[in-house]
């Protein structure tokens, strides 16, 4: 114990040294003066000391507390509670009645969260199942959002008329990106998709005559409901239910797909491309379907996103966005649907509800990403492969 404290003190000292020039000193060039903010150093030191104590304590017991836990605790797929009918019933009842109880602000946050769930599920197909690292996924999200916005702006299309077009354009974008990068492997694929994402965003930003540039496209309509006029409050609730449907559809499709021939081909491709090829899997087709279907979902929720904000601009589709979506997939546990939902709760709802911490919110967010990865690198929920139970087959 004593040794541990001494060790933490050394670490604290080291971090205080590191932080010194940025945290304590503040130079004012105009007045030629230096402000010393010693109190900051003291606070940083205090934080670092306690965090390092906890960090080192848990890191040495990581195996016991975090890595072995899944069998009993995190393995939610097998959990009786989650599978039991009364639980599901109550859960869905609560979930469905939330927008009626909560104020509009929270409904709107939940809508955002569901958008991210669908995005996570879409990217999960590409990264989690097919093992193709995509760092530019926000591009397809952007294609969806902008398709709707532009169709509405130039041709007066409504939401429902634009939705299939937005989804198919995003899907097409996915396939078009997929064709040239088929030969690339691993990290080269990552950087090309990153480049692709940036290209799409930069085009949206700079082609002012067509996309209105950085100022974005305002006044987008909410989805219509058989011509009934909805006020702002009820249209948000309507959107909430639409997104529940969309999310359920995404979950169902992903789940069925992952058990299908295509889904198993994806997993085979992820595990070993050459072996998959020699077993007769058409890698071109399999990769392209993964890109296409992944992008398809991004296109759909892109339109929802634009409609929810009634506004799109390129700054919503930066690399940061792609990184967050990828984090959702990895943090949730690659290939796991439940994991995506849980990770979205953490990565999307946490920053929203940490707003009272104001400027510390994103700092904590970044730290949480690191901490989660250090302590549970395989993600929250371990994805379970379907297993055939030979004993009960007969």
């Amino acid at each position: 114990m004593k040794l541990r404290i001494i060790h933490s003190l050394i670490i604290t000292f080291w971090f205080m040294l590191l932080c010194f020039p940025l945290v304590v000193l503040k130079i004012d060039y105009l007045e030629k003066s230096i402000r010393f903010r010693w109190i900051n150093l003291f606070l940083t030191g205090l934080c670092v000391f306690f965090i390092s104590l906890l960090w080192r304590y848990f890191l040495s017991r990581r195996r016991k507390y975090f890595l072995r836990l899944p069998e009993h605790f995190f393995d939610l797929h097998q959990s009786r509670l989650i599978r039991s009918k009364p639980f599901l019933f109550i859960f869905s009842l609560v979930f469905l009645s939330l927008p009626l109880i909560l104020p509009n602000y929270h409904t709107s946050i939940l809508i955002t969260a569901m958008i991210y769930v669908v995005l996570g599920l879409g990217l999960n197909i590409v990264v989690g199942l097919a093992g193709l690292l995509d760092l530019g996924y926000a591009a397809f999200f952007a294609i969806g959002g902008y398709s709707f916005a532009l169709l509405n702006h130039y041709f007066g299309f409504g939401f429902w008329a634009s939705l299939p077009i937005a989804a198919s354009l995003a899907c097409l974008g996915g396939v078009l990106l997929g064709i040239p990068v088929l030969r690339l492997r691993g990290d080269y694929l990552a950087i090309v998709t990153l480049g692709f994402g940036e290209i799409i965003r930069l085009i949206l930003e700079n082609w002012e005559a067509f996309t209105k540039g950085p100022s974005g496209i305002p006044d987008l309509p909410k989805p219509g409901l058989f011509g009934i006029q909805l006020d702002f409050y009820s249209s948000t609730i309507y959107l909430y239910y639409l997104l529940i449907l969309c999310m359920l559809a995404a979950i169902l499709v992903t789940k069925r797909l992952s058990y299908s021939k295509t889904g198993r081909a994806w997993v085979a491709l992820r595990e070993d491309e050459i072996a998959a090829q020699s077993m007769g899997i058409d890698t071109t087709k399999t990769k392209l379907t993964a890109f296409g279907i992944g992008a398809f979902w991004a296109g759909i929720v892109g339109a929802f996103f634009a409609s929810k904000n009634s506004f799109v601009d390129p700054s919503s589709f930066t690399f940061h966005e792609s990184a967050i979506i990828l984090s959702i997939v990895v943090l949730g546990g690659m290939g796991s649907i439940l994991g995506v939902i849980l990770a979205t709760m953490i990565l999307v709802l946490l920053p929203e509800y940490l707003r009272f911490l104001e400027s510390y919110r994103m700092l904590i967010f970044g730290a949480i990403m690191v901490i989660m990865m250090v302590f549970r690198p395989e993600g929250l929920v371990k994805s379970v492969r379907q297993q055939y139970d030979f004993k009960n087959l007969k």
Binding site: L18, L22, Y188, E198, L202, L331, M369, M373
Partner: protein, 301 residues
């Protein structure tokens, strides 16, 4: 050759030099542990801030311009190496055994953390960076197409790449680095302390980035918390372009990228500067998937 061409050429070389200095950090780390270190751009940014702080202190103390420059570079290198070391120890080292994506996410988290840290500790606004090079004079005929600061950046970055190449080739540590990048387990069996070498690689990468940060900040004259992001992505692009893991490749990729950008902005349009960079990257990788100097990976079945 007209002057405009030369002007673009040298400004391209300048950019390329800076990209190279940062790309070296990416490529060395990737070569050794196969990690895309997304926090590397933020180290560059932090180095610029630390350089600014120390330049501020010593300019208030009325030191001469050249000594301020040297002091700023020294402290920026010292601290960024320390930051690089600490980041590796906290965010990547516990993840050595994990899957490949886990350290990547950890790196993204670290990069968000560092940006916010600088915003909180210093400022979210642009800060003026002193012109530390002062009034350098070049021969009359050169002043038409090249700025004095540009010559310094180009020369320094070429010099540093040369030193690094010699270091990797001829010293024992360099040899150990190459050994680890070829086969880490085997190198460890033969008595190479892999943790030490990995930390060392992070430190070398960080101090090269710090060098680049001070040079370019003194050239452009302003910094903010966001400067690390786009330049980090582009430097990574340069590393991939040249073949990731290869040090001459990083230099080649950096220079190519810098020149392409410079000519494209000069002759075509400045709005699409970054589009050209990424477009070229995509094109080159399609035709040469391992980059210019990358080794083609042969997969054994």
């Amino acid at each position: 050759m007209d002057l405009y061409f030369l002007e673009l050429f040298f400004s391209g070389l300048t950019r390329g030099g800076i990209y190279t200095l940062i790309a070296l950090g990416y490529t060395m780390v990737y070569g050794i542990i196969g990690l895309i270190n997304f926090a590397h751009g933020e180290i560059y940014m932090i180095a610029a801030f630390i350089g600014l702080t120390f330049a501020g202190i010593f300019s208030i103390l009325q030191f001469s311009l050249i000594s301020i420059l040297l002091i700023a570079v020294f402290f920026a290198m010292l601290f960024s190496a320390a930051y690089g070391y600490t980041i590796e120890k906290t965010a990547y080292k516990p993840l050595r055994q994990a899957s490949r994506l886990a350290p990547l996410i950890s790196a993204i988290g670290m990069s968000i953390f560092l940006r916010e840290y600088v915003i909180l500790a210093q400022t979210p606004d642009f800060l003026a960076f002193p012109m530390l090079f002062g009034d350098l004079e070049l021969p009359e005929f050169m002043m038409d197409f090249i700025q004095p600061t540009e010559t310094i950046i180009i020369l320094v970055s070429f010099f540093l790449v040369g030193i690094l190449l010699l270091f990797i080739k001829h010293t024992k540590t360099g040899k150990a680095m190459r050994a680890i990048s070829q086969d880490r387990e085997m190198a460890m069996l033969l008595g190479v302390n892999s943790d030490k070498i990995i930390s060392f690689t992070f430190m070398v990468g960080s101090l090269l980035a710090a060098f680049g940060a001070i040079l370019i900040s003194a050239h452009i004259g302003q910094i903010n918390y966001n400067i690390g992001f786009i330049i980090g992505i582009k430097a990574f692009t340069a590393a991939v372009l040249g073949g990731i893991g290869s040090i001459p490749g990083a230099a080649l990729g950096g220079l190519t990228l810098g020149l392409i950008e410079s000519f494209a902005t000069g002759y075509i349009s400045s709005d699409y500067e970054d589009v050209f960079a990424f477009g070229i990257l995509v094109l080159i990788l399609i035709f040469k998937p391992a980059g210019f100097l990358g080794k083609k990976e042969h997969k054994k079945v």
